[in-house]
Symmetry: C2
Subunit: 239 residues, 2 copies
DNA sequence: CGCGGACTTGAGCCTGTTCAAAAGTCGTGG
DNA sequence: CCACGACTTTTGAACAGGCTCAAGTCCGCG
């Protein structure tokens, strides 16, 4: 239906894209209307429940996606079951690994989410034809690289308390449009996932959270909903 | 002199580049002869002693470089002095952060090294004009991202012993063309630098190295020169 | 209301740190 | 050629931050 309508406006934006979170994101923001239309014709919107896997570690993936709602976590798993989250992605990020088919990590919905899925071949062709798109994806890759390296510092050199404070700060600044000083948000991650992100155990994460609560740095409601009265204080504790 | 000679062959490879380690690397391998010539005309070969800084964290850098010899370490430093190495780069890697002028990390020679330095403006222009170059740099960025995430797993989830074994394995496979099974190489890093890479202390690194030595997994000569009789064994210990 | 999963709390332990000293290593100069 | 001094590395002993194991509590949901 949406596709049929967009056929009418040869050069117009597909209706499905008009109100899309990712319309001006890394991929779609770099496309011409004609390209957007073609991509849309081969795209599929998909709802994914929290916890369900989008890409499996070690598998060959023949598609890419844009996140249009929710949070996606990127995980690495060791054969013995130890796990590390190596990245979080929010709408309207692009998910996928250009140039290499086999994935060295898994992508999993952290919250209920919505993604727009399209074939690898098609986007690969567009990348080759569209310097602007290549540039845009290159830019996202470099930003993710900066984020990964920042996180390496956290994993290697910060204490448990600093780690937890860092994560809360990260999520507060990414997930919610914070007000001037105070911020409130829902954690997209369970305690177990936070632990896997920070290289800690569930118990340590829990203890550090209650320590922060008792110090008045955060308020915890429902264990998922967090209020930060003073973001500067939180950042100071993150070191 | 080299420049003068290369002027003669309008379309030829500059002589300075003919025997260069980086000639077919990420940047120069993607350039036309004319571009290579232009880049060469504005390039400067520079020797850097081990320990000297190439780019300072927080500074604005107006140049990029190619590594033509040696090993460069990328570091992040906290205000209180804690430090984390977030990447190692070997010849013929490209060093620099396209699109962003201010560096969030410092680049420092780990060994005596040689780099080929060229102006940021010039390469930025070439990137914009040369899809192949953009693609090549994009590719390096994605490879570095994979490496960074692999290292996040190491930092977050591996034990001290596994960390040390992982680093030895990494260096063995990058620095030296290993023989079938056994490998010998010089460590480009001091114990302190290894500790900063692995998120450990000097003492723990030293203890784990002697443990590996006593188990016969490695031989240590001069504390910098390492022999690995069986790489598979080392990899197994890295988990 | 009772069940199940997620989260919190507690006690003891262990890995890796801290602090301290000894042993190499290397360059310099007598 | 060896002695000296600075620095890196190794080794030792005590400590502590975070882990493990084990209950207990909270909360959503049928």
């Amino acid at each position: 239906m949406d596709v049929a309508r967009s056929e009418v406006f040869e050069a117009g934006t597909p209706t499905a894209c008009r109100s899309c979170q990712a319309r001006h994101g890394v991929v779609c923001g770099a496309l011409s209307n004609a390209q957007l239309k073609e991509l849309n014709r081969h795209s599929l919107r998909r709802k994914v429940d929290a916890g369900s896997e989008i890409i499996a570690q070690g598998s060959e993936s023949s598609f890419y996606s844009n996140i249009t709602r929710g949070v996606i976590k990127l995980c690495k798993m060791m054969p013995d079951g130890r796990q590390q989250i190596v990245g979080l992605q929010f709408a309207p990020d692009f998910v996928g690994r250009p140039f290499v088919r086999e994935s060295t990590l898994s992508a999993e919905a952290a919250t209920d989410a919505e993604i727009c899925v399209f074939p690898r071949n098609l986007l690969d062709r567009m990348i080759a034809e569209t310097p602007e798109l290549q540039r845009s994806l290159h830019d996202q890759a470099l930003n993710e690289l900066d984020a990964a390296r920042e996180w390496m510092l956290t994993l290697g050199r910060r204490t448990a308390e600093e780690k937890v404070a860092s994560l809360l700060h990260l999520i507060a600044t990414h997930a919610e449009p914070q007000t001037a000083i105070s911020t409130a948000f829902d954690l997209p991650l369970s305690r177990a996932e936070i632990a896997d992100f920070l290289g800690l155990t569930i118990e340590t994460v829990s203890r550090q959270m209650t320590r922060l609560r008792k110090r008045g740095v955060i308020l915890i409601e429902n264990s998922r909903h967090i209020v930060v009265p003073d973001m500067d204080e939180l950042q100071k504790i993150s070191a």
